[in-house]
């Protein structure tokens, strides 16, 4: 186990900057998720930590040692790849013991470590099989087994669940999380799926365009996003945004006036973006009118697409209410959960 520190880490391909100077501290045993849309540089950053990509500038430090110029094999890391990268011509056991074999481990020691990892991951009956004889979930487990068998300082996961179906993804998500809780190895996990990030991380790093938008605990990011990008990226269904102006009467959006908390009035007459999460609408006779466009009953909740003034927004209601498209309901945005962002730049105002 080890701390990982990135100091002003940069990556360029020729004149094109991919990573623009990232600072990040990961404490010993922490589970950090790098999340962001495609092309934001999260996988590149992970590969730089792994040593699979060169570092243009800055410093990567693993366990108190600057590793910029070290080969991946000398960094004491293990990596799980998106497509598992299992060696197709080797059995599960050989795949798992391969790195130990090349680090001079004795046969008995390798067999013992492989057995230990196989027991943890439920792979014991599959040790003699080849990767082609395994299901997606089993392959994923073997890839994890290959990583843990060496007891590295840091685990690196590069979108390991994206090739699995939705149901298996949820199962494997739980397995990775419980594996981390058991081994307590420092982990850096890359995903574009914000649900994975929310459910697994001790700390989330939201990346966009090669820059860090926000670093924090999952609920901190959810409750107090630093800017409009993070607010829109974290949470599913995503936050609703209405553009308009802060006035003394409330927030003036196209075709509607929305209530604002007292504290917002210090930004009076400022153009802003009004953000509210779908679950923070309440049905209330004294609320603002909303015309229902689409109703999607999910069982545990009902997702409603509705028109607030001229803007389409999504609301999620836990109550079993009878709603039908075309009808007008009255909803009240919860004042404590309203987010205001600057119209220019998207920084948080409240």
């Amino acid at each position: 186990m080890a701390e990982v520190t990135l100091s002003n880490v940069r990556k360029s391909y020729g004149a094109v900057d991919i990573i623009h100077g990232i600072d990040l501290g990961i404490t010993d045993g922490e589970f950090v998720v790098l999340v962001g849309p495609s092309g934001c540089g999260k996988s590149t950053l992970l590969r730089m930590v792994a040593g699979l990509e060169t570092i243009t500038g800055g410093e990567v430090n693993i366990g108190g040692r600057v590793v910029n110029d070290l080969d991946p094999k000398d960094r004491d890391i293990a990596m799980v790849f998106q497509n598992y990268a299992l060696y197709p011509h080797m059995t599960v056991a050989t795949n798992m013991g391969f790195s130990l074999e090349h680090r001079g481990g004795s046969r008995a020691e390798i067999a013992e470590r492989v057995k230990w990892a196989a027991d943890i991951l439920g792979l014991a009956p599959l040790l003699d099989r080849y990767p082609r004889q395994l299901s997606g979930g089993q392959r994923q487990r073997v890839a994890m087994g290959r990583a843990i068998v060496r007891d590295p300082k840091v685990f690196l996961f590069d979108e390991p669940l994206s090739n699995l179906d939705a149901k298996l993804r949820v199962v494997m998500r739980g397995e990775i999380k419980s594996l981390h809780q058991r081994l307590k190895t420092t982990t850096i996990y890359v995903t574009h799926d914000q649900v994975e990030a929310m459910t697994m991380a001790d700390k989330i790093v939201v990346l966009n365009g090669g820059k860090v938008e926000q670093i924090g605990a999952p609920l901190d990011l959810y409750d107090r996003p630093a800017n409009q990008f993070v607010a829109g990226f974290i949470g599913s269904p995503s936050m609703n945004f209405l553009t308009g102006t802060i006035t003394t009467e409330g927030f003036s959006a196209p075709g509607i006036m929305l209530p604002l908390p007292e504290v917002a009035h210090e930004h009076k007459d400022r153009k802003a973006v009004y953000g509210i999460r779908p679950e923070h609408f309440a049905l209330d006779e004294n609320g603002v009118p909303a015309e229902i466009v689409l109703v999607e009953p999910m069982g545990s909740e009902t997702q409603v697409t509705m028109k607030l003034g001229e803007t389409l927004v999504t609301g999620v209601f836990r109550e079993r209410v009878s709603l039908s498209p075309g009808a007008t309901i009255r909803v009240r945005p919860e004042l404590g959960n309203i987010h205001l962002f600057a119209a220019d730049g998207g920084q948080r105002l409240n």
């Binding site: 991946p72 094999k73 990268a85 060696y87 790195s99 090349h102």
Partner: protein
């Protein structure tokens, strides 16, 4: 889902295939049957599809008139060395072109590929002069070295490069994380996975070397150094006319190992064709 063919259509298709088979099967059939015919029957009209009498002494004469066993051995060991050498050179060169980033890699590869465009007839004279100076004429070295570092190896390098390009980069990256250096990645990961491509390279190289004709007649002059294709031309009578039945018996014996290899490795052969993108 495959559509079921009606019986009538099936009969028609099989009949058509049988007709199309004739130009492919007939020469082999003619070679094998004529090898046991008396020479006068070979040109009899109408042609005899089955020999009326069998003359097996032609096979004995193949070995009496030429050092055929020695020539067989020459062809076999040259083809084996060329095949092994080409597999080694082409797999390493193919891997380097596919996986190692070095300046002008693609340009150099193009230059290498240009070697395929030069007909062997064009280079045979300079090669002869080169090997003459090196004292290697009338030895088997030119027949071994030219294919290993010449056009057949270029073609094999192309096949191997295309295979290695398609190999997922993550496998190599996983191996790097697992602690392997470049050469070990090649030997332990890339090469074992390249078996289908290597098999096709082996089959094509072996066939090419086994059938090589121009180079042996240029470089070799003594009968005990001859390879089989060259030896076949040596079965002539006192007037220089071909002894057809003995020649065809020798040809049958020459084709036999290739036929056997083809029958045994039919699957790999077809896969090999698919790999190279050739139609044979």
């Amino acid at each position: 889902m495959k559509a079921e063919l009606s019986p009538r259509r099936q009969v028609f298709l099989y009949g058509l295939l049988c007709v199309l088979l004739i130009p492919f099967v007939f020469p082999t059939w003619w070679m094998v049957t004529s090898s046991v015919k008396p020479i006068s029957d070979i040109f009899a009209f109408p042609p005899q599809l089955m020999p009326e009498s069998y003359d097996w002494t032609t096979y004995a004469k193949v070995f009496e008139l030429q050092p055929f066993v020695k020539q067989y051995w020459n062809s076999a060991y040259i083809a084996a060395l060329v095949t092994i050498g080409t597999m080694i050179v082409s797999s390493m060169a193919g891997y380097a072109f596919a996986r190692i980033k070095f300046p002008f890699a693609n340009t150099i590869f193009m230059v290498v590929l240009l070697g395929l465009l030069i007909p062997s007839e064009v280079t045979i004279v300079p090669l002869f002069q080169m090997f003459l100076k090196a004292g290697m004429v009338n030895t088997h070295w030119p027949l071994i070295l030219v294919p290993i570092f010449g056009a057949p190896s270029v073609f094999a390098t192309f096949v191997m490069r295309q295979f290695f390009i398609a190999l997922p980069a993550e496998l190599e990256e996983a191996a790097r994380v697992d602690g392997l250096g470049r050469f070990k990645i090649f030997r332990k990961i890339a090469l074992p996975l390249a078996r289908p491509a290597l098999a096709s390279v082996a089959i094509f190289t072996f066939l090419h070397s086994w059938n090589l004709y121009l180079e042996p007649i240029v470089f070799l002059s003594s009968a005990d150094k001859f390879t089989l294709p060259q030896a076949l031309t040596q079965y002539t009578d006192a007037y220089g006319g071909p002894m057809w039945n003995i020649q065809l018996a020798a040809a049958t014996l020459t084709a036999l190992p290739v036929l056997l290899v083809f029958i045994i490795a039919q699957k790999q052969f077809v896969e090999g064709l698919a790999h190279t993108g050739l139609k044979g």
